[in-house]
């Protein structure tokens, strides 16, 4: 590399169909370090770049289990160990009465895990990211579809990658500086 290092090459498309075609093509050509940017969730784009599995469900399951165990343990400890009170001759460990709170705690744990787990796996909040240097990128949250092949990819070369992207007739191709 001679010039300043770049983050990648960004191609801008007008329709989701063009984007998905280009992403599939780049994936077939062996590129792996790339990302598509769309103004709304586009399942096909995630599949095209090989990102259709994620670990969010696992995180949510762990959150639900922790909430469930934590909620029930709290109730058991409070009602049996810390502050046992005889109410109408019911056993201290009256488990049916503990179910509603256990359920609520499980849901609470799962919801917190879903939101914060998703953010953490996505690496958000992230104050700076190179793709925002691309001049037209503001339209990624409006009406345009972007595909960025990153320079970290072993197959990346400024000329060949550009040629590949050009073959899908994007509106524009820009170099994304760091």
């Amino acid at each position: 590399m001679t010039a300043a290092p770049i983050y990648g090459l960004m191609a801008e498309f007008e329709t989701p169909t063009e984007l998905v075609e280009a992403a599939k093509g780049a994936y077939a050509a062996g590129y792996r370090k790339m990302d598509a940017y769309t103004p709304y969730p586009l399942e096909e784009a995630a599949e095209a770049i090989g990102a259709h599995h994620n670990r969010v469900p696992l995180v949510v399951l762990v959150g639900a289990m922790l909430g469930m165990i934590g909620g029930y343990s709290l109730e058991y400890w409070v009602s049996v160990v810390a502050y046992p009170i005889n109410v109408g001759g019911k056993p201290f460990h009256s488990w049916p009465a503990f179910i509603p709170v256990t359920f609520e705690c499980a849901v609470l744990g799962a919801c917190l895990a879903a939101v914060f787990g998703m953010l953490a796996l996505n690496g958000l909040p992230q104050p700076y990211h190179p793709v925002f240097n691309s001049p037209n990128f503001v339209r990624a949250s409006r009406d345009r579809f972007f595909l960025c092949i990153e320079s970290q990819d072993p197959r990346f070369s400024p000329s060949d990658t550009r040629k590949l992207l050009e073959s899908y007739k994007p509106e524009e191709i820009t170099e994304v500086p760091y």
């Binding site: 709304y40 009465a97 609470l108 939101v115 996505n122 990211h129």
Partner: protein, 458 residues
């Protein structure tokens, strides 16, 4: 302002979204409400009124904190009064928001998209009003923390987990948190849109921070969608549990009129009923004032009307069963409860309730009623009045006359009761209109999904 509502010919349903929309027009129309220096005059007027009512609420709550709950009409035997009536009413209103955002999402009802954002906001603000009542009903909210939550203190006193009142604390606080998260996660991509459309640096910075660096990456969307669907799946049983638990506050006791097994489904249906009425009470003025007839179309109003009709029938059935079981049990206290409803000192509340919640809403069978916004608005007001009366009937009329005639009593609310109740309506309106001004009231990114251009052609 958009074109007036045109009803399509018979047999054709109105579209979910007006014709001719593109990604750009959707973005500009919805973001335009927020990203403008021009604040509409009606907004200023409504917020001014709401602020005045909010001030009244603060005055009344302030006086309550100084003098104690004796300024209210609550006495023995009616210790619950307005505070619990209003609590149940407000929390019920919240339920439609979660139903729209979670349950209709799982059932792939795409029409929900136009109304889910502000319905979720409605849920959060309604639950905030609801939460206020039990808190101030304790009389000493600064002590309520250790009465309600398991907090380790030197006294070693802990909440009673066999009591539905504690289940209620957990249910309502979980419900608030989950609704807030669901709403917040939906706002992130829209904050990114506002950040990228903002015209001034300060506005861009503020929405930029709220968007947390969202860039619409396909990998992010993938995890986002998974989390969103899972949240919907979690909120579905949650929303059903919340009003069920609220109903157990009553049903677990032995008071005639409360001690019934059908309270949970009865309460949940009533909650969704009143919630959809509130959605319409907000959606109809909103679409008119902001000219959003292309996004919130007659189809949405019709569907909300149908859901109100359906849940209203469940509520009507429950009223019937309540009376039937009272008679069928042949228990003298249950019979006395039925008699008290029909001929007691509060029977006019009961007949008003039947009129508001059963008779008038039958007009929703007519397509004409479901398709005429102003009539639908009036029906919604009637239904929400009826639902408030229902809670009044349940709370006050059951406590009023229990087993021993020597402990019977009457309930007279005071001006402070009324000031706090009306004040919460002002607080709710205030929060809602601030939300409309500062955040996209319709989900922009989900609306983009509704237009034909959003689909990938193979």
């Amino acid at each position: 302002m958009a074109a007036p509502d045109i009803l399509p010919p018979k047999g054709v349903r109105p579209p979910i979204i007006g014709p001719g929309q593109t990604f750009g027009t959707i973005t500009d129309r919805i973001a335009g409400i927020v990203l403008t220096k021009h604040t509409p005059i009606f907004w200023v007027a409504i917020v001014a009124i709401a602020l005045a009512l909010f001030g009244m609420l603060q005055t009344a709550v302030g006086y309550l904190l100084v003098k104690g709950v004796g300024i209210w009409g609550i006495t023995i035997p009616i210790g619950w009064g307005f505070a619990i009536v209003n609590f149940v009413w407000w929390i019920g209103i919240g339920h439609a928001g979660t139903l729209i955002s979670a349950i209709l999402l799982l059932f792939k009802q795409t029409w929900r998209t136009s109304i889910n954002r502000f319905a979720e906001a409605m849920t959060i603000f309604a639950v905030m009003q609801a939460g206020l009542f039990p808190l101030i009903h304790t009389g000493r909210p600064w002590l309520a923390a250790y009465w309600l939550f398991p907090i380790p203190l030197t006294m070693g006193v802990w909440p009673q987990f066999r009591s539905p009142l504690i289940w209620d604390v957990f249910a309502v606080s979980t419900y608030f948190t989950a609704s807030f998260l669901f709403w917040g996660i939906g706002l992130i991509p829209d904050f990114a849109t506002l950040r990228d459309s903002a015209k001034t640096l300060v506005v861009r910075r503020i929405y930029g921070m709220l968007a947390m660096g969202w860039r619409g990456s396909a990998k992010h969307w993938n995890r986002y969608e998974t989390a969103y669907m899972l949240l919907a799946g979690l909120c579905t049983p949650l929303v059903l549990s919340v009003h069920s638990v609220v109903s157990l506050d009553f049903a677990v006791s032995v008071v005639p009129g409360w001690h019934t097994t059908f309270f949970p489904p009865y309460f949940v249906a009533g909650a969704i009923y009143s919630g959809f009425a509130m959605v319409l009470m907000l959606a109809i003025p909103f679409r008119y004032l902001y000219g959003m007839q292309d996004f919130i179309t007659l189809r949405h109003l019709q569907n909300c009307g149908k859901l109100m009709l359906a849940t209203g029938q469940i509520v009507a059935y429950s009223y019937g069963m309540e009376m039937f079981i009272g008679w069928y049990s042949q228990d003298k206290y249950e019979l006395a409860m039925v008699n008290n409803r029909l001929h007691g000192p509060y029977s006019h509340y009961y007949y008003m309730l039947i009129l508001c919640n059963i008779l008038i809403p039958q007009s929703l069978w007519l397509n004409k009623v479901r398709s005429t916004p102003w009539i639908l608005f009036l029906v919604s007001v009637v239904v929400n009045t009826g639902m408030w009366l229902e809670r009044f009937v349940i709370v006050v009329m059951s406590l009023q006359r229990d087993f021993v005639p020597s402990s019977w009593g009457m309930y007279w609310y005071t001006k402070w009761d009324m000031m706090i109740f009306v004040g919460t309506m002002g607080f709710f309106t205030l929060l809602f209109f601030i939300f409309i001004r500062l955040m996209p009231a319709i989900s922009i990114f989900e609306m983009r999904n509704l237009i034909p251009q959003s689909k990938v052609n193979e």
